[in-house]
C-alpha cells in the first residue's frame, strides 16, 4: 500500500559566521526504506529526536522530503508544488497527540468533523451532515455532542473528536502520531480498542507513532525502531520477545517499568542520552551507548540486513546474537 524508498529529510542549520562555523546539517531522517501493507498497522518507535514525527509528516506531505520516494497505492507522491497534497487528499489523514491543541476551540464539534469533508468538495450539505453523524456515532459520540465546543469535553472525548475528523473523509491510511500518549490509562484503553475496531471494520492501514512499546505491542503488526534518523530494526511484534534483537530495541524493552513489584527490572538501564542529531556519531549511531559495541561499530555504519521472516536489523553483531 505504501512504499518508502531512501527517504531523507535534512535541515540546514544556520551557522554563526562570527565564530567561523561551517553550516551544519541536521539529518532528521537519513535514508529510510520500508513498506506498509494494506490493512496493516506499522508501529514507529523511537526516543525524542529519533525522527519519528518528521517521518510521519513526510508521509502526510506536510514536510517535503529532501530526497527519496513515497509510493502510495502504486503511484508516486509528488511534492506539494506539483500537486502532492491534492493527490493524497481524502486518502490520508492524521490524528495528533494532544487533543487539547489539535482542535479549534472556536469551532463546534460538528464543524470540526465536517471540515475535511468540506475541503474535499463535491458533497451536498445534507450528505455532509449524514456523514458527520455517522462517524460521530462510530467513535462513540452522541448526536447532542456535535453542537458543543471542544472545551466541554475531557481528553479522551476530545481524542474521539480528533479520530472522527480523520475518519470523516473515509481515508485508507491513518497516521496516528502518539494518539494515546496524553490520555489517562483508563481512557487510553478505550481509545486503543476503538482504533482497533475501526481498523477491522474498514480495513484501514495505520502508521502508529509511539514511544511506548507496550502500547505498540497491543495494536501493531510490525514495528520499525528508529534511532537518530536511521532504521535500527524492523520486526513483527511477536519477535520482540525473541532473543535476537538490536541492542537498542533490547534497551527500550528493558526500560519499560513492569507493573508487578515481584518482577524486578532486568539489568542496568541504558546509559547516556540520544545525541544531538546535528552531531550524529560516526559509524553506528547507537555505538556510544551500546554495550556490545566493538571497534568496527565506531568505524562503519551497519547496513539494514534481512535476517529472514520479515526481520531486518542494522547491527554489525547481529550474527553473534
Amino acid at each position: 500500500m505504501i512504499e518508502v524508498r531512501n527517504l531523507k529529510k535534512h535541515y540546514r542549520l544556520p551557522a554563526s559566521r562570527w565564530l567561523g562555523e561551517k553550516p551544519a546539517t541536521l539529518r532528521a531522517v537519513d535514508g529510510v526504506s520500508f513498506t506498509i501493507e494494506a490493512g496493516e498497522t506499522l508501529g514507529l518507535v523511537g526516543e525524542s529526536g529519533s525522527g519519528k514525527s518528521t517521518l510521519g509528516q513526510m508521509l502526510l506531505m506536510q514536510t517535503v522530503p529532501t530526497e527519496g520516494r513515497i509510493i502510495f497505492d502504486g503511484t508516486e507522491v509528488q511534492d506539494p508544488k506539483s500537486g502532492g497534497m491534492h493527490q493524497l487528499k481524502g486518502k490520508v489523514q492524521v490524528v495528533f497527540q494532544d487533543p487539547y491543541d489539535a482542535l479549534n476551540p472556536r469551532m463546534r464539534v460538528r464543524d470540526i468533523i465536517a471540515e475535511p469533508l468540506r475541503n474535499l468538495q463535491g458533497q451536498s450539505d445534507q450528505e455532509i451532515v449524514q456523514q458527520v453523524e455517522a462517524v460521530a456515532q462510530q467513535v462513540g459520540l452522541r448526536v447532542e455532542d456535535l453542537s458543543k465546543f471542544p472545551h466541554q469535553f475531557s481528553g479522551g472525548q476530545r481524542q474521539r473528536i480528533g479520530i472522527a475528523r480523520a475518519l470523516s473523509v473515509q481515508p485508507k491510511f491513518l497516521v496516528l502520531d502518539e494518539p494515546v500518549s496524553a490520555l489517562d490509562v483508563s481512557v487510553q484503553a478505550q481509545v486503543i480498542n476503538l482504533l482497533m475496531d475501526i481498523q477491522e471494520q474498514h480495513q484501514m492501514t495505520y502508521l502508529f507513532i509511539s514511544h511506548n512499546l507496550a502500547v505498540v505491542e497491543h495494536i501493531c503488526d510490525r514495528v520499525l525502531i528508529l534511532y537518530l534518523g536511521k532504521i535500527a530494526e524492523i520486526l513483527k511484534v511477536e519477535d520482540l520477545h525473541k532473543h535476537k534483537l538490536h541492542p537498542y530495541t533490547r534497551a527500550l524493552i528493558d526500560s519499560i517499568p513492569v507493573p508487578d513489584p515481584a518482577r524486578a527490572k532486568a539489568g542496568q538501564p541504558l546509559s547516556g542520552e540520544i545525541p544531538d542529531p546535528a552531531k550524529a556519531p560516526t559509524g553506528c549511531r547507537f555505538s556510544p551507548r551500546c554495550t556490545m559495541a566493538q571497534a568496527v561499530c565506531k568505524e562503519r555504519e551497519p547496513e539494514l540486513s534481512d535476517l529472514g521472516g520479515g526481520h531486518w536489523m542494522a547491527c554489525h553483531r547481529s550474527a553473534e546474537m
Binding site: Q157, S186, V187, A189
Partner: protein, 330 residues
C-alpha cells in the same frame, strides 16, 4: 508511631464559577523514614494539589480553604507561620516537578540556581566557603557528567534528562528528610526514566530520604514504591503496600486501572477498557465519585459517600465492595 510525616484529613477546596471543587478531600497518609510512597491517580484525581497542600504552595487565587493536619517531626505544618514554613520548604521537604523546563529559571546558569538554594537555607549548610564544593559533589551524585562545565550552562543548553537531574540535585542540596517528586519522569523518554528511577533508588539507599512519588504510571509505582495510595476524585480510595495493591487490588477502580494498563508481553490483544470518563470535580454528587463507572456499584453507592474502611494497620479503603473483598481474601 514511627511516621516521619502524618497527614490527617487534608482537604483543599477551590471556588470556581461552576461551584466548589473539592480537589483534595479528606486525605490521610503516613510516611516512614526511608519509605517510598507512591501516589497514583489520573488527571484531576487531586494528586498534585495534595502535594502542593503539604508544602502550602497551593495557588491562592481561588482557594476556598486548605486544612487538615500535616504532622512533620512533631510540628503541624498547617499551623506553622510563614517563616517557619520557609525553613521547611526546599530544605527539609523538597519538591521536584514534572517539567524541568518551567521550574528552572531560564536566565540564570544552573550553577547560580543551585548556589541560590544553598544561600537561601543557611541553617542547613552553614559553611559558606564550601558551597561550591557541595554543589559540585551533589551534581556528581546525580550523575551529571562534568559538573563544573554544566554548572556554567543555562537550562536551554541542557537536555530534558539533564535538567531533571539538576532539579533533583537542587532538591537534595539541603539534605531533605522528604523528597516530593511530582511526575518527575513523565516528560522524559523511557530510557532516561529508567536512569532517573535508578537514581532515586540509590539516593534513598545512601541518605535514607523518604520519597513521595506522584505518578500515573503503574509500572513506575511497581518498580519503585514500598506503599501506594490510589487517588480518585480527590480521595484516597485504596492505600496499601505496593505488593498488596498489585497482587490483591481491592477497590474496583484499582482493579480496573490495573486491567486497562497495557502490559508488554500481550501481543495484539484487546485491552480491558473502563467505561466512562474521569469525574468532573465541580459536579460530584453525594455518592461515590467512581460509582457511575463502577460495574459493582450498589444502590447505596450512588447516594452516600463510602466511609473509610480500616483494613490491616493504617491501610484504608473507601468502598463497601473493597471491604467485602478484603474480608474474602483475609
Amino acid at each position: 508511631m514511627d511516621s516521619l510525616l502524618q497527614v490527617d484529613q487534608l482537604s483543599t477546596h477551590f471556588r470556581t464559577p461552576r461551584g466548589l471543587v473539592k480537589a483534595v478531600d479528606g486525605v490521610d497518609l503516613r510516611l516512614r523514614k526511608g519509605e517510598i510512597l507512591g501516589i497514583v491517580g489520573e488527571s484531576g484525581s487531586g494528586k498534585s494539589v495534595m502535594a502542593q497542600s503539604l508544602l502550602r504552595v497551593v495557588p491562592k487565587s481561588n482557594l476556598a480553604h486548605s486544612d487538615g493536619r500535616v504532622l512533620f517531626d512533631g510540628t503541624d505544618l498547617m499551623h506553622l507561620n510563614e517563616e517557619g514554613m520557609r525553613r521547611v520548604r526546599g530544605a527539609r521537604i523538597a519538591m521536584v516537578t514534572q517539567n524541568p523546563s518551567t521550574s528552572l529559571n531560564p536566565v540564570l546558569t544552573v550553577g547560580a540556581q543551585l548556589m541560590e538554594t544553598l544561600r537561601f537555607h543557611p541553617d542547613r549548610s552553614p559553611d559558606q566557603s564550601r558551597f561550591k564544593e557541595r554543589m559540585l559533589a551533589m551534581m556528581h551524585e546525580v550523575q551529571l557528567p562534568n559538573p563544573a562545565a554544566i554548572a556554567q550552562r543555562y537550562p536551554f543548553q541542557l537536555s530534558g534528562g539533564m535538567k531533571q537531574r539538576i532539579s533533583i540535585a537542587m532538591a537534595l542540596l539541603c539534605e531533605p528528610e522528604i523528597l516530593i517528586a511530582d511526575e518527575p519522569t513523565t516528560a522524559l523518554d523511557v530510557t532516561i526514566q529508567a536512569q532517573i528511577l535508578d537514581l532515586i533508588r540509590s539516593l534513598r539507599q545512601a541518605h535514607g530520604t523518604s520519597v513521595i512519588f506522584i505518578t500515573h504510571d503503574l509500572g513506575v509505582v511497581a518498580q519503585l514504591c514500598d506503599s501506594v495510595a490510589v487517588m480518585y476524585g480527590g480521595k484516597v480510595i485504596e492505600y496499601n503496600t505496593a505488593s498488596e495493591v498489585f497482587r490483591h487490588p481491592r477497590h474496583p477502580y484499582t482493579q480496573g486501572l490495573l486491567q486497562s494498563n497495557p502490559i508488554f508481553g500481550n501481543t495484539r490483544s484487546r485491552l480491558h477498557a473502563m467505561p466512562g470518563q474521569p469525574p468532573d470535580l465541580a459536579a460530584l454528587g453525594p455518592g461515590c465519585a467512581f460509582a457511575p463507572r463502577c460495574s459493582q456499584a450498589q444502590q447505596s453507592c450512588l447516594t452516600t459517600s463510602p466511609s473509610a474502611t480500616l483494613l490491616d494497620g493504617h491501610f484504608r479503603h473507601l468502598c463497601p465492595v473493597a471491604e467485602t473483598q478484603g474480608a474474602a481474601s483475609a
